[in-house]
Subunit: 472 residues, 2 copies
């Protein structure tokens, strides 16, 4: 009781009775402190998104920056160069509305997105020096080596109705995995409350990918953020692996037009092959995945499924070899553009899985991320998983040549070719002795490659200058 | 040429010739700057681990703190209370060697690990006040709300041969996912270099788990770190889900005795059932998983597989209901203690999968983390995955009752029971009409529960005071 009285005396010492009357409520001086409802924080239009604060971006057509890809395999496509041109135009078209920013913990030059500097610059409020390049007080590219700060800035910017793209080295975006997770929880709850207006999506470009870290190596390889975002429920995360420049443009335009979600675009910056015309890119975007006719036969005996630009290239190179060694073997190539189409949470029209991957033929997947990530999706098709084989990043990295990265992770064309002949040999689709000798041939190729890179430090010409051909 | 000369003049301005002679090399003054090889940084014993700096911890036997669990289902087991007692003894036994620390971004009291304060305290170098409790300048518990700082401290501590345990709310350990990933890369490479001595493992306790966040809700639920660590290759990550206090003790002792790895121990802090005697806990630890005889029949028609304390409880409660409703239905219960035993990277003796999960019977998994995480492991058994059903955390959380969390994520006993009767009804193992009426009964139970918690704000007694019984 003594302690209770002490508490009572303490609380009474605030003289609450002077401020509050049990019948009349608070006195005038207190009531006057309460802001007008229109000024209450929760009533700020900036707290609610929606039409009052949000203006859709003016988006240029993806075709405006398209590359000629009428002949599949034409050389010269850098997904990030294309993205840079497109984003520069987005900055230009929305210059007056001032509702678009980019953020990056890396050098925009390093990520090959520097075409944006035609229209904007890197934000800097420090005194400028004559040698400063592409920096300015009104710069709309926030370049700062702090993933956490940028994620925070982006969330505030997007929550108040503006649009943003976060470009990062793939490996280091996992630094903000926990922040992105909390934000995803917010979105998933927000969507249940009709009074909350729409807000733009978070858009991440994951580039300088783990497959092309020949100078940085193992520390710069981590596709884990893909898993983090794939596990979010509520059908608002989309994960794209555009295989070339034209598909990157299609995905980028589509992502910038979406609201209330999270888009991941995983694409490289190096100069690679063009595979899809703008029309085909659009078609694949709509479906999420697509059979590539130019690399496929009717009634296939074996199917390839690839997601990711560098992994797509290896799978196509394997097909090229197979059609050259054994022209009668019938293959199919399926490219997976949007990983989220494959499942998790039942967000999409159930995939007519067999339409793409046949009913009973062996399927070899070559995947940009961890093999497990694809396995957890394939699990849901309730098949005997024995007919699926999944190649991907198995944490076998180093400072080495681009092709050796594929070799170390068993995603290389030679690994895929060997697996095809082992599989088709066992099935009797290729004569056993022939299959064995082909497996041996490409096993030797791997040994030769090892010797070659030890001596020269670069990949051999037949890899570096590989061209798509399919003999049928 | 003008610029080349400018560079040349600039470089020459350093007068390198005064310091270096092409024939004799560097002059004496420079050579004297080079430390004795024994003082070179790379030669510091602290840079290399191994016997010179590392002393194994003196570890008390797990049995010293064991609970009586001769009767499975005995109430009164808090995994964290047990862990606290054990860790206190570790502090005591290694007091003189001073080579053990704990780190936590949370309150040690909140995580129920405060038994350690009998021997140590929280490190603090601020002036102390009379009301300060369990704080001291020589405190070996580093309690600081910065996951990043603690991870950094722990890495330095462990790399120089000392031992540590990092205790965290499960949801927030993902904040250091990227740091842990980089450290894992270091371990995986280190293990290939015999000149690098051994170092202790990183030990994480993930508690205050997402399943028991009735006051904090959705923001405190994130089992993503399990996936991050599961994807590491090289067989040095182990992920444990001890189902009770005795198994927590067994796992903790085992983890503190290991070197060069990463151990995750995922266990709750609430007062729950005791399932395993110390002997059975040891047996299950050796195997990684175990059929629990007290909850299993011969020749089962349906199999449960559970990983995680709260999920184990729900599965056992489901078995309890099934044996009461339909005593003739034969079930088996398999508890998965070490998730890593199930695969990824071929680190373990291939599991005799059918020994545990039969050849062709339906298996219902109830898993602590994301269902996908288990699916990616089951994929590798190359079965028709249609006979597996995986329940787990599907991001359906809120501030709600503990049982409602299970209901929302479809891991509740009632969900499991309904699935069993749907499955066995379809197979003809339970008569169809009977199966349907039982499904309906437990569907109604779910509705009743919903009504009850709306009115009372807590779970009904039959849930809160549930006791294990199995009629056979």
């Amino acid at each position: 009781m003594k302690e209770l009285h002490a508490v009572e005396n303490w609380l009474k010492s605030y003289n609450f009775g002077e401020l509050f009357d049990p019948k009349k409520g608070f006195i005038k001086e207190i009531k006057d402190l309460v802001p007008d409802p229109s000024l209450a924080m929760g009533n700020s239009k900036y707290a609610r998104g929606g039409k009052e604060v949000m203006k859709d971006l003016k988006l240029p057509p993806a075709e405006q920056f398209a590359e000629d890809a009428k002949i599949p395999g034409t050389m010269g496509s850098s997904s990030m160069r294309r993205a840079g041109l497109y984003l520069n135009e987005v900055f230009r078209l929305n210059k007056d509305v001032r509702n678009f920013r980019m953020l990056s913990p890396d050098e925009t030059y390093s990520n090959k997105l520097d075409a944006i500097f035609e229209t904007t610059s890197r934000a800097s409020v420090m005194p400028s020096e004559p040698w400063d390049k592409d920096m300015g007080r009104d710069g709309r590219m926030m370049e700062m080596l702090s993933e956490h700060s940028l994620q925070g800035l982006m969330q505030g910017y997007v929550l108040t109705g503006r649009h943003a793209v976060f470009a990062s080295y793939e490996a280091f975006v996992q630094i903000i995995a926990s922040m992105a997770d909390q934000y995803a929880k917010f979105i998933s709850v927000m969507r249940n409350y009709p009074w909350h207006g729409q807000i733009p999506s978070l858009n991440y470009i994951l580039t300088s990918s783990g497959w092309r870290q020949e100078h940085n190596g193992f520390s710069h390889q981590n596709p884990g953020f893909i898993d983090d975002m794939l596990h979010k429920r509520g059908c608002f995360t989309r994960i794209f692996f555009p295989p070339d420049g034209n598909s990157t443009l299609a995905v980028l335009k589509d992502s910038l037009a979406t609201n209330g979600g999270i888009n991941l675009i995983v694409a490289g910056k190096t100069l690679e092959h063009r595979w899809l015309t703008p029309e085909l890119a659009q078609k694949e975007l709509k479906q999420g995945l697509m059979v590539w006719d130019f690399a496929s036969d009717n009634d296939p005996q074996i199917v390839f499924g690839a997601a990711g630009d560098y992994l797509t290239k290896e799978a196509l190179a394997a097909i090229s070899i197979i059609k050259s060694e054994t022209p009668k073997v019938r293959v199919r190539f399926v490219n997976i553009l949007e990983l989220s189409t494959l499942g998790v949470g039942g967000c999409h029209v159930p995939l007519t899985f067999e339409k793409y991957f046949t009913k009973d033929k062996p399927v070899i997947f070559n995947f940009h991320g961890y093999p497990q990530t694809l396995k957890e999706l394939l699990f849901d098709y309730h098949e005997n998983t024995g007919r699926f084989s999944v190649h991907g990043y198995i944490e076998s990295g180093s400072t080495t040549t681009p092709f050796d990265m594929q070799v170390r992770n068993e995603t290389s064309r030679y690994h895929l070719v060997m697996e095809v002949y082992r599989t088709l040999g066992a099935l009797g689709d290729v004569e056993k002795a022939k299959a064995s000798s082909l497996v041996e041939k490409y096993q030797n190729k791997l040994t030769e490659h090892r010797e070659f890179i030890k001596e020269h430090g670069v990949d051999p010409q037949e890899i570096e200058n590989w061209q798509w051909t399919k003999k049928s």
